[in-house]
């Protein structure tokens, strides 16, 4: 029997196990929407902006480990979703985005709402396709899902002209895919793995540096075994949080620009860095020429381009984390004995000393302004038994969330690391909530970032996605203000938000629930009230505006040279500035 392109599209999605599509219609995709409307297997969540649809698909993907799917129209629909594609590309999120295109006979004529979708998305997708013939549609969709979810995951775009969605073809879904130019390597080279095992046995000051790759690979169990067996401390990247239990004795927390003191010191003084599914980003390496000066480097990554891109690697292993770690553990199981513990005792003594010297700190006065760290800490303590999924926006609040919200398991952490996309948090949380209707999903947001995709509150209310948004409202683009205080002599060029909406009323206007924490003493009660609500909630928490996030390695600085607290001049200034209310615009601007 012949099916229309739109019907083929739906049959393919069903076979890929897609349950939810985040979408916004337009002229050239109407046939697809019309067909979706007449079936029950796939839920369509209508968003208010295509960027929202893209981030929702990302949140869905990160929480489930499966490909997220979004559907947008040509022209402006496509340009709106680009930010989400770029975000997914940087953070290796498996995504399949379908875009509508003008009919094939119109392509290239500057037709109404025409855009070169394939050209626009080329630099920010893993691969993309323009389907010119309905007979190619099914095979192309199969390839798109295959490419998005295998190897190093990433976003794939499938551009479908209007006439292709209307034309008919015989439907057959291929059972398998074979692309001669695409064969990701999963098995690590055995000889290299043996070398790695030997280096691990010999190392006196080893450190595991683990990233998002461990989560994509589902290798947390193997990582735990490796770390416990060898008693090697674990540093996590921002994207790797949750890959290893945050409360585990072997965990040193996050490393990098805003990482913990012990995580960065251990990295710097290590004699063997074991990088697993991490890509030596500049937020982690700092000044490359002085990065880990004493260490040999083992690097396990499925993408050969990640290896030796930024730093020299002594033992490269191209392969999947899970497969490689299994093999590595097998070798180590046969060789590890009590000796390693003794060999590394001085290393652990040193690490514990670092830990005690400079733990993460902040000072919350009893009746003083609310400190953002206090909010994250209490939120963590109040919710950890419920195994929540946590998303963040981008800025200081993101870093505090990374530092104080200790995740126990993978796929609980949704954050934009590579692109650093403000406005990511709320829609990503909604995508995760759409995948897991019964779970607790939190969004730790900034007052600046939340305004970038606020419109999706309508989507959350209509689709009953009871995300709990906690806004750390400092009245500033706080991360920008921090840099201005540290490096631009406190000139707050366009970082003061001047006026923000009344978030409580705004929630109310959307039919969600709005709550405000007026003083630190009310924090627990208000958070508990929010957590007990079964609707989307915004908790507006006005926080101390001048709190800075530490430790901090200035861009291009060295990992062992962290700023640990406000420099003296800044402290002095702020003791006066603290009295300024954010409403007092003139004083703030001249502060």
């Amino acid at each position: 029997m012949k099916l229309t392109g739109a019907e083929i599209f739906i049959e393919c999605l069903k076979r890929e196990g897609v349950k939810t599509v985040f979408a916004l219609p337009g002229g050239v995709v109407l046939k697809i929407f019309d067909t979706l409307h007449q079936q029950k297997d796939i839920e369509v969540i209508l968003t208010r902006h295509e960027q929202g649809a893209g981030h929702m698909a990302e949140g869905y993907a990160k929480a489930t480990g499966k490909a997220g799917v979004c559907l947008v129209t040509s022209g402006p629909g496509m340009t709106n979703v680009i930010t989400a594609l770029a975000d997914a590309y940087m953070d290796s999120v498996p995504l399949v985005c379908f875009s509508g295109q003008v009919p094939t006979s119109f392509i290239g004529n500057d037709a109404f709402q025409e855009a070169d979708n394939v050209g626009l998305s080329r630099p920010c997708t893993k691969h993309n396709f323009l389907v010119k013939d309905v007979n190619d549609l099914a095979a192309t969709i199969k390839e798109a899902f295959y490419i998005a979810t295998t190897g190093r995951p990433g976003p794939v775009l499938v551009d479908i002209p209007k006439d292709v969605s209307m034309a008919k073809a015989e439907f057959t879904y291929p059972n398998s895919v074979s692309i001669r130019g695409y064969n990701p390597t999963y098995e690590g080279n055995k000889w290299q793995i043996k070398q790695a095992a030997e280096a691990i046995m010999k190392a006196k000051k080893p450190i595991l540096y683990v990233g998002g790759g461990v989560i994509f690979s589902g290798a947390s169990q193997e990582l735990l075994e490796l770390a416990e067996m060898t008693q090697i401390p674990v540093d996590m990247t921002l994207m790797g949080l949750g890959a290893f239990p945050g409360e585990h004795l072997l965990s040193l927390g996050m490393l990098g620009m805003h990482g913990t003191y012990q995580a960065n010191m251990a990295m710097h003084y290590s004699d063997l860095v074991i990088a697993i599914g991490a890509r030596f980003d500049d937020r982690v390496t700092g000044k490359v020429s002085e990065f880990c000066p004493y260490a040999k480097v083992i690097h396990v990554d499925i993408d050969p381009t990640s290896i030796r891109k930024n730093i020299h690697v002594d033992i490269p292993i191209v392969g999947d984390c899970k497969t490689v770690l299994r093999e590595l553990n097998q070798i180590l199981r046969a060789t590890v004995n009590g000796e390693q513990k003794d060999l590394r005792k001085p290393w652990w003594d040193q690490i514990r000393e670092w830990q005690q010297a400079h733990p993460l700190t902040y000072h919350q006065e009893k009746d003083g302004p609310i400190k953002p760290q206090q909010v994250v800490k209490r939120l963590y303590e109040l919710t950890k038994d419920r195994d929540p999924i946590v998303s963040t926006d981008v800025g200081q609040h993101q870093m505090w969330a990374a530092q104080y919200f200790k995740l126990a398991k993978p796929n609980r952490w949704l954050t934009s690391g590579g692109l650093g996309t403000m406005g990511f948090g709320f829609p990503a949380a909604m995508g995760a909530q759409a995948a897991f209707r019964d779970r607790l999903v939190l969004c730790i947001a900034g007052d600046g970032s939340i305004q970038m995709n606020m419109q999706e509150m309508a989507t959350a209310v209509v689709n009953k996605l009871p995300v709990k948004i906690i806004i750390l409202n400092n009245g500033f683009h706080g991360m920008v203000r921090q840099w201005q205080d540290l490096f631009y002599e406190g000139r707050y060029a366009s970082s003061y938000l001047d006026t923000t909406p009344d978030f409580v009323k705004l929630a109310d206007a959307y039919g969600a629930v709005g709550l405000r924490v007026k003083k630190v003493g009310d924090l627990d009660a208000v958070l508990k009230e929010a957590l007990a609500t079964d609707k989307p909630v915004i908790v507006d928490v006005p926080t101390y505006p001048y709190e800075n996030c530490y430790p901090m390695i200035p861009a291009g600085g060295c990992n062992h040279e962290m700023i640990l607290e406000d420099p003296p001049e800044l402290k002095k200034k702020q003791s006066g500035a603290a009295k300024v209310t954010p409403e007092d615009k003139d004083t703030v601007l001249t502060a």
Binding site: H127, I147, G181, D303, P304, T305, R308
Partner: protein
């Protein structure tokens, strides 16, 4: 250092822009690039002349391999290869110059492929040095037009693609 990279790609629309976009987006050099179909009509062959230090060339090769439409990448500098470039040069020639032009053509084993009362169109192929040399000699006569193909190259013996070699190198 200059490298000649031979890339076998799917013969599909848009592949050239993927490769070109990779070079421009990542700030890699392209000195020349030539593309043409192969014996197998489903594939095309690109020869890319580029330059960079070892780390950059390694990234170029890996990034090319990462493109889904790229089937095989060979860094010809890793092996022995022969390469050629063709230039078509139109020179202004009057009177005595015409004889001089023909002498140069003869020395360089070039061919005159078109002739008008005031011009010769000369075809020459060889390595870049030879082409530079003939251009230098013809310049005083007055070059009206010059087009060059960019280099094409082929390994003397069959070689394995770089992705597989990289693994071997890593083992050594």
């Amino acid at each position: 250092m200059e490298h000649i990279i031979s890339v076998t790609v799917e013969n599909k629309f848009g592949v050239l822009s993927r490769v070109a976009g990779l070079f421009s987006g990542r700030g890699f050099n392209i000195e020349s690039l030539s593309v043409a179909p192969t014996l197998d009509p489903s594939m095309s062959q690109m020869t890319i002349v580029t330059s960079g230090d070892e780390r950059i060339i390694e990234q170029i090769v890996k990034q090319l391999n990462k493109l889904i439409d790229v089937i095989k990448v060979v860094d010809l500098n890793e092996t022995e290869f022969v390469s050629r470039e063709t230039a078509i040069i139109k020179v202004h020639t009057k009177d005595a110059d015409r004889a001089e032009a023909l002498r140069i053509v003869d020395i360089f084993r070039a061919n005159v492929i078109d002739s008008t009362p005031s011009t010769y169109t000369i075809e020459v192929s060889g390595d870049p040095k030879k082409i530079e040399a003939i251009i230098n000699l013809l310049q005083p006569l007055g070059i009206k037009d010059l087009v060059r193909t960019g280099r094409v190259a082929v390994a003397r013996e069959p070689v394995r693609p770089v992705a597989m070699q990289a693994k071997k190198v890593a083992r050594d």
